[in-house]
């Protein structure tokens, strides 16, 4: 033991004590400021946590839902289009042993509608019914096994009954059907009344029904049909190898789906959802990180002079760094932890109110339990602390560097930030954004475009000091040249013009959040307009009807079709057969619409995006929707292999379709019938004769054809209204979050001015001495806040327009595969900007009024 050690310990202790005094006094003196900073940090982290948690929960449940319906089979033989002849089961079975498959389970999955006799007007619930062979499913997909009620005849008497159906708990809850009751299911025009005999092993959160395969084929009108065959592989057999061994023997309408393909399909299916939520998460993270930076940074800027003094008195950089990091770390850690907890609470509330897709309508019928993604939440807290530390450290760094005395002098806070008033960083980011925009989508996702949006946003924020430093002096000079009389306006303008760095701190949040809001408003307005236009083109008739159609049943047979067309009051009737085709096992099924088309004028029925061609001789004309063309890389004139007979199909035109995100093909009904022999149709469009209303028409139709009881009819107007309502609902939460971001930004303005009111106490004191009244002082600050917010709103709007264009012309085509024309809701944006400027002014005024109670005397006394 040397003597040095106790001496060093004493030294360290003294330094620690000093640091403690310093931090404690900072806390005592500016409790409100630190609390505000902590609260801001909490809000930021809470937003990010909440959105991420909702995202995760929904995806987890969605993934589970997919797995549940598929019973986690290791391999499946599926239909490319519609259903399979049930003899494919024996085909597969014959090859099974050689292919290394030791379990084969035939499945008939039928999408049905549940009739609600108690509430006939209600929208029918959808229910997927799986017909299984329990002896085989027990080996391959045990999770799908029906669970008879305890005491139900001992070993399960209803398992093989011809009238029993087993409902998952979610289905029981949604349909209000308990074991012992009956439910009525509709598939096409088939109606089946079944008794609920128990539950299903898996899928607590998923609406699902299971029944015997033979009973399902009979009761649901699918004799001789299967939709898939689930397979279990013997140990050590690779799925791809088994698939290759099976493929050769399969009929052309069947294909083998690998589990990876299913995962890919699921990923493709939920893509739109994830894209939307990822934007929200990005907004939340941006706003959150900015809030943390602004709050902690501002608190630290205000202490610069004190740190400078400590440096003059002999505090070394390490000590100062310690103190700065301790207080910034403490406040951001406390804020982040509180924020993470609040975020989880918020997520729970959001899931409860909006459901897993946040109102987007992507996964109807799924009520996800909350999934807490601990690693990411810890990472978010760490991010909050890291941003907080950086925000605390950057302003204080200069105070302890080479020239502490400079930091002590007046206005030095401004000179420290003045270096920011250069356009180079912004220009560099903008160049990077341009580069990113030129990149193609990565893995089918517009990641580069998102990165470009982030760059544009950062560029916009980075440009604020430079813009303020460039713009406001010119404004001030102009105003002076015009002989400005109002001292308050003059003072406010002069103040803003000379403090570009602080201006950036005040309004960066406004710029960021308003930019994202405007971008979203522009995108949604363009999108909505495009959808409304499109709805007009695709809904020319007066009345539309659809029977609960599915892979099994198109629903309406020819005789019924003719009777409908001949009903009095029907001016014209058109029928469409819709079904689903699987072109690629890794992608969700595409829609197929067979409808009357005029060979030489398809544009009369389809909203084509370009010119159409005539099919080459011997080929069948099909028209691809925009998503289909994009997803399957089809151009006009390209050949496409549709699993409908052996015809050659040529894409003769591309049309707009906002309804089927995974793509659709349309062909003439006559061609479809010729190729498939399927005479049924599922959709009815009726033109009403003069003198009849759609409502009267519908009444007549229902009276004449009781078989159509399960069909849903809507007028074209009702359909348009409904479509747009669903559209609006899917963006409801986006709006909500952007509103939150804007409020947070205004909160940032208010807290900046509250802080400034203290930091500028001496300035205010001098102005009071020189004869500026209290009210004028508040007016001056309000004007400053208003000017800066107005500038922030305008600059944010400009940035938002650019981002909106990126969303419309890059993100949308790359992730949803549809295009639209740009619409600028300028009135709405102007209104928003004006409101924002006003709110900024009010926030600044309120903040400064609350903080200037002390009066000018104390202010000047504070001078040291």
């Amino acid at each position: 033991m040397t003597r040095a050690r106790p001496a060093r310990a004493r030294f360290t202790l003294a330094r620690l004590t000093l640091a403690r005094w310093f931090v404690a006094s900072a806390w005592r003196a500016q409790r409100g400021r630190w609390l505000t900073a902590g609260a801001a940090v909490a809000v930021g982290i809470a937003l990010a946590t909440a959105i991420h948690t909702v995202n995760r929960s929904a995806l987890a449940e969605f993934q589970q839902a997919i797995d549940v319906v598929n019973g986690a089979a290791s391999l499946q033989v599926v239909a490319r289009a519609g259903t399979l002849d049930d003899r494919v089961f024996e085909t597969v079975l014959a090859r099974a042993a050689a292919a290394g498959v030791d379990g084969v389970s035939p499945v008939l999955a039928v999408d049905t509608q549940v009739a609600r006799p108690d509430a006939p007007g209600e929208r029918a619930e959808r229910l997927t019914v799986l017909g299984l062979d329990v002896f085989r499913a027990a080996q391959v997909t045990p999770a799908l096994m029906p669970l008879p009620e305890p005491g139900d005849g001992g070993a399960g008497s209803s398992l093989l009954a011809d009238d029993a159906v087993f409902l998952s708990p979610a289905a029981q809850a949604a349909l209000g059907a308990r074991p012992g009751q009956t439910i009525t299911l509709r598939s096409g025009l088939t109606v089946a009344t079944l008794r609920v005999a128990g539950g299903v092993a898996a899928g607590a959160g998923q609406r699902l029904a299971v029944m015997d395969l033979g009973a399902a084929q009979w009761r649901l009108g699918a004799l001789g049909r299967l939709t898939r065959v689930d397979l279990r592989l013997a140990e050590g057999v690779a799925p791809a190898q088994a698939a290759a061994a099976l493929r050769g023997d399969l009929p052309p309408e069947a294909e083998v789906a690998l589990p990876e393909a299913r995962a890919q399909r699921m990923s493709n299916l939920s893509r739109a959802y994830r894209v939307n939520l990822n934007v929200l998460a990005l907004v939340a993270l941006f706003t959150g990180a900015f809030l943390v930076f602004a709050a902690v940074g501002l608190a630290s800027v205000r202490q610069r002079a004190q740190f400078a003094l400590m440096a003059v008195l002999g505090a070394d950089a390490r000590w100062t760094r310690g103190v700065v990091l301790a207080q910034a770390g403490a406040v951001s850690l406390a804020g982040s932890v509180v924020g993470a907890l609040a975020g989880l609470g918020l997520a729970r509330a959001l899931l409860g109110i909006f459901g897993g897709d946040l109102g987007g309508g992507y996964f109807p019928g799924v009520m996800p339990p909350m999934v807490v993604d601990a690693p990411v939440i810890v990472a978010l807290v760490a991010l909050g602390v890291a941003v907080g530390l950086a925000a605390g450290w950057l302003p204080a760094r200069e105070a302890v560097s080479a020239r502490p005395v400079e930091a002590l002098r007046h206005g030095s806070a401004e000179t420290a930030l003045r270096r920011l008033a250069q356009p180079w960083a912004a220009l560099g980011l903008l160049a990077l954004a341009a580069l990113l925009l030129a990149l193609p989508p990565i893995d089918g996702l517009p990641i580069a475009a998102y990165a470009a949006i982030a760059c544009i946003l950062l560029a916009a924020i980075a440009a604020v000091p430079w813009l303020v430093a460039t713009l406001f002096p010119v404004l001030l000079a102009r105003a002076e040249a015009r002989g400005l009389e109002r001292p308050v306006a003059w003072l406010a303008l002069a103040r803003v013009a000379q403090s570009p760095g602080q201006a950036a701190g005040v309004i960066a949040g406004v710029v960021a959040s308003f930019a994202l809001t405007v971008a979203m408003v522009v995108m949604v307005a363009s999108f909505r307009h495009a959808v409304a236009d499109w709805l007009h083109v695709v809904l020319p008739a007066d009345l539309y009807g659809r029977v609960p159609s599915n892979a099994v049943a198109g629903g309406i047979p020819p005789a019924l079709r003719e009777r409908i067309a001949a009903l009095p009051g029907v001016a014209r009737a058109e029928f469409t057969r819709t079904l689903e085709l699987s072109l690629d096992a890794a992608r969700p099924a595409v829609g197929l619409l067979a409808r009357p088309l005029e060979a030489n004028a398809p544009q009369a029925r389809l909203p084509l995006t370009g010119p159409a061609i005539a099919p080459p001789p011997g080929a069948v004309a099909v028209y691809a929707s925009e998503p289909a063309a994009d997803l399957y890389r089809l151009a006009v004139g390209a050949e496409v292999a549709l699993p409908l007979g052996s015809a050659r199909f040529v894409v003769c035109g591309i049309y707009r379709d906002y309804a089927r995100q995974h793509g659709a093909f349309t062909l003439a009904l006559a061609d479809y019938r010729r190729l498939t022999g399927d005479e049924t149709v599922s959709d009815i469009a009726l033109w009403v004769a003069p003198g009849t209303t759609p409502a009267a028409m519908l009444e007549r139709l229902r009276a004449a054809e009781p078989a159509l009881a399960g069909a849903e009819f809507r007028s074209a107007d009702a359909l348009r209204t409904l479509s747009l309502r669903i559209f609006d609902r899917s963006f409801a939460l986006t709006y909500l979050l952007e509103a939150a971001a804007l409020i947070v930004a205004l909160f940032g303005v208010a807290s900046s001015y509250a802080g400034q009111a203290l930091a500028r106490a001496r300035e205010f004191g001098v102005l009071r001495h020189l004869g500026l009244g209290t009210r004028d002082l508040v007016r001056q600050v309000a004007l400053e806040g208003g000017l800066l917010s107005a500038f922030g709103a305008l600059w944010g709007a400009a940035t938002g327009l650019v981002i909106g264009l990126v969303l419309i012309h890059r993100v949308n085509p790359q992730s949803f595969h549809w295009t639209m024309e740009t619409r600028l809701p300028l009135g709405l944006i102007a209104l928003g900007a004006a409101a924002l400027a006003l709110c900024g002014a009010i926030a600044a005024a309120l903040a400064v009024r609350a903080a200037t109670g002390a009066g000018p005397l104390a202010a000047l006394k504070e001078d040291w």
């Binding site: 079975l93 002896f135 209803s158 093989l160 033979g214 009973a215 009979w218």
Partner: protein
């Protein structure tokens, strides 16, 4: 008669809870059993089985037991359903090898609806198949071929009957309880000569043998349940060394008494011996299953007239876990019979209703 796990479990499985349009054929005392028709299945009856059990000599190893059973069940599923997947008729198959060196049965089972995937029976002759598990009778030679290809056991045997079937009860009408409808149609084929190959074990541990031996086939069909008071039954079918056969069963009541008891002895020519009194069953040894915790009387002394047969199992653990197919646990094992300390015959003992009804 018989018995069987099915009498306990399958009817429960197959009986619909709601009134069904399905009506089952009744067992009729006056119905004559005729061949070859009655080698085939009787789908109008609720349950039916072909039960093949026997002892096999292996080259270079101790004798072992085997069992191959096909059960047929008529469910309550509507006849009107035209779907070929409609589960109106089910087939179950159990196969077991009792290798004494193994200490317990190698057992596998299959369950399937009749119709698709080669699951079938014939109404004109014994022709049963669940995929590649089969039991077929050749009409010309009268021989049976049984083939079981499982994960852990493989069996291919050819079976030659020495004479015509032995009709049980009154010309094939076998009373099972105090009420007249508690009965079945029932015939047996004792002293069957078996030749073939068996294999048991998994992967590298699998071993195969050529085998020959003597077996017993029961074919029985019925629509009626056991008496409500029944707890289970004990059954034996013994190929006697003198060429004769012994079949005896008793239906045990829940209260511990005996509801119904029957014994039938035949000489080498198949002529029945009139018994003055029912057989007396006295357990001599008990064994407790580590799986089901059921306690089975694996050793018996059965008194038939003046003879006292002592039954000793090939091994104690011959319990079958049929929870995945017909349901529950039962004991079905190879036993050797001695009279006065001298070997007198070999056959199978079946013990049901000892395990508490279990459900998965």
């Amino acid at each position: 008669m018989r018995r069987r796990a099915l009498l306990q479990a399958v009817p429960a499985l197959l009986l619909p809870r709601v009134a069904s349009a399905v009506t089952y054929d009744p067992v009729d005392r006056g119905r004559a059993v005729t061949f070859p028709r009655d080698h085939g299945a009787h789908p109008g009856f609720r349950t039916e089985w072909w039960y093949l059990t026997g002892w096999l000599e292996r080259d270079g190893a101790a004798p072992c037991g085997f069992q191959v059973t096909f059960f047929r069940s008529r469910t309550g599923h509507a006849d009107a359903n035209p779907s070929r997947f409609a589960p109106k008729q089910l087939l179950f198959a159990h196969a077991a090898l009792a290798l004494p060196e193994n200490g317990r049965l190698i057992h596998e089972d299959r369950s399937a609806r009749v119709g698709p995937a080669g699951v079938r029976f014939s109404e004109t002759d014994t022709a049963l198949a669940i995929g590649d598990w089969s039991c077929l009778r050749d009409a010309g030679s009268g021989r049976y071929a049984a083939r079981i290809a499982g994960r852990e056991l493989d069996l291919a045997v050819e079976i030659a009957p020495p004479g015509p079937p032995v009709l049980q009860g009154e010309g094939g009408f076998s009373q099972k309880g105090p009420r007249p409808e508690q009965a079945s149609h029932y015939y047996s084929r004792p002293q069957l000569a078996v030749r073939g190959r068996i294999a048991g074990g998994r992967g590298a541990a699998r071993r195969a043998w050529s085998v020959r031996g003597r077996a017993w086939l029961d074919h029985e069909w019925s629509s009626t349940l056991l008496d409500e008071r029944a707890a289970g039954w004990d059954w034996i079918g013994i190929n006697l060394d003198d060429g004769g056969s012994l079949m005896a069963f008793r239906i045990r009541a829940r209260d511990g008494g005996v509801l119904w008891s029957h014994v039938a002895r035949r000489d080498a020519q198949g002529r029945p011996r009139a018994e003055s009194a029912p057989a007396q069953w006295t357990p001599t040894r008990w064994w407790t299953s580590p799986r089901s915790q059921a306690r089975y009387p694996v050793g018996f002394e059965v008194t038939v007239g003046a003879d006292r047969l002592t039954l000793e199992p090939l091994m104690d653990d011959q319990e079958i876990d049929a929870r995945a197919s017909t349901g529950g646990f039962y004991w079905e094992g190879a036993v050797a019979a001695r009279v006065g300390g001298q070997p007198a015959g070999r056959g199978y003992l079946e013990l049901t209703g000892y395990a508490a009804p279990m459900r998965l």
